[in-house]
Amino acid sequence: MNHRIVIIDYGVGNLFSLQRAFRAVSGEALIASDVDTIYSADALVLPGVGSFEAGMRGLRLRGLIDVVKNAATKGTPILGICLGAQLLLSEGHEFGVHQGLDIIPGKVLKFEGLTQNEKIPHVGWNNISPPEEVTWKGTVLDLVEKASKVYFVHSYILAPRNKEHTFGLTTYGGKEFCSIVKKGKIIGVQFHPEKSGETGLRIIKNFVSAL
């Protein structure tokens, strides 16, 4: 049967390429911003680019904060992308400290302390690999090879409080950071799977197949 995948439109980001990427792996996804549609979805995608505060404001204005948090509590799979992944955490430290969705404990911090002379924002293709004790087999990262390349654009990084929520790591400018967070069926990726070629499509396909 067809599961209803809803891409949450909260006023930030380019939802159209994301929708096309779902279509490419035969997972029709609906773009919606109303409470009812999002409440009754089988899976949610929280996309987004822009600042942490603007993202939370977008959700708040549409009355979506509790809807997303409740969906997480009742076990609805959620895929957060870029800013959408950051919003899953407890608080963001971009232009002041702002409350996040607090679905996964942790902070979103400025990407700094690079040991090599690299530019911020981190723009371009970079590796993702599982932490040592983690396997991607049978998960949303299934069949994605260690050190696969995906497309990043960001200036802030995910810093989950609990080690077990770090599901992927990336190194840029000599600094290792958490590029994938996961807690049960909730997953957040700092990169853009919809812009990451076949590797990205594989991740989206896995997300759809698990429903």
Binding site: G124, Y151, H192, K195
Partner: protein, 253 residues
Amino acid sequence: MKDIRIIPLLHIKSENVVKPVHTEALRVVGSPKSLSTRYYAEGADELIYLDVVASLYQRNFDFELLRSVTENIFIPVTVGGGIRSITDINNALRAGADKVAINTYAVRHPVFLKEAAKEFGSQCITLFIEAKQRPDGSYEVYTDGGREWTGSDAIEWAKQAIDLGVGEILISSIDRDGTKRGYDVELIRKISTFAPIPIIAHGGAGTSESIREVICEGKADAVAVSSVFHYGELSIQNVKRYLVERGIATREI
């Protein structure tokens, strides 16, 4: 060192990809959809799509054509040519673009860059500079596909645009565009050495060595390549292999 991005650049006129020579004469090269599909499959890291007449004739951008091109391309796409409003940017994003490249309109209304960056985020706004060297060695900004001189200094303009919030700069050398004589390394280096944001070099790609040169000596973060890819004189894979063998990281397919 991070991965250098190899970016095919398509000049679009009506429904065709064209090759500009010194930005004046145009020759039809192929269809936007077949070329972009080929580049995606061959491992392009991004794609740049420039409508070369939209700006010049104040013509409206063909968003339907763009939509058909981006439909099966799952890498970032930057779109330029005649972008002159927040609505244009919105339409481009809805047609599958991830970033927009702005030249002419930004030169006339610099504050537009700030408004656009605020609305869509810096990562979405690329400044497109077309520059030509003056007899004294300095570089001047041109607009409208290299037809109109502005009197502005390219380096100063880059600095100003960075302050206004652009997220990337695409620099095209009018002198080298379409000549295959190699990039204008000096022009690229002059901007990349102070810019805290990524610099994409364009204009003059001829051999793999010319690409290596603008990366190593010009300090470019990415290279845009047109004709030599279109005509198959260089392939993305061969360029990447050439760079990797010389210690430059790229995304290999």
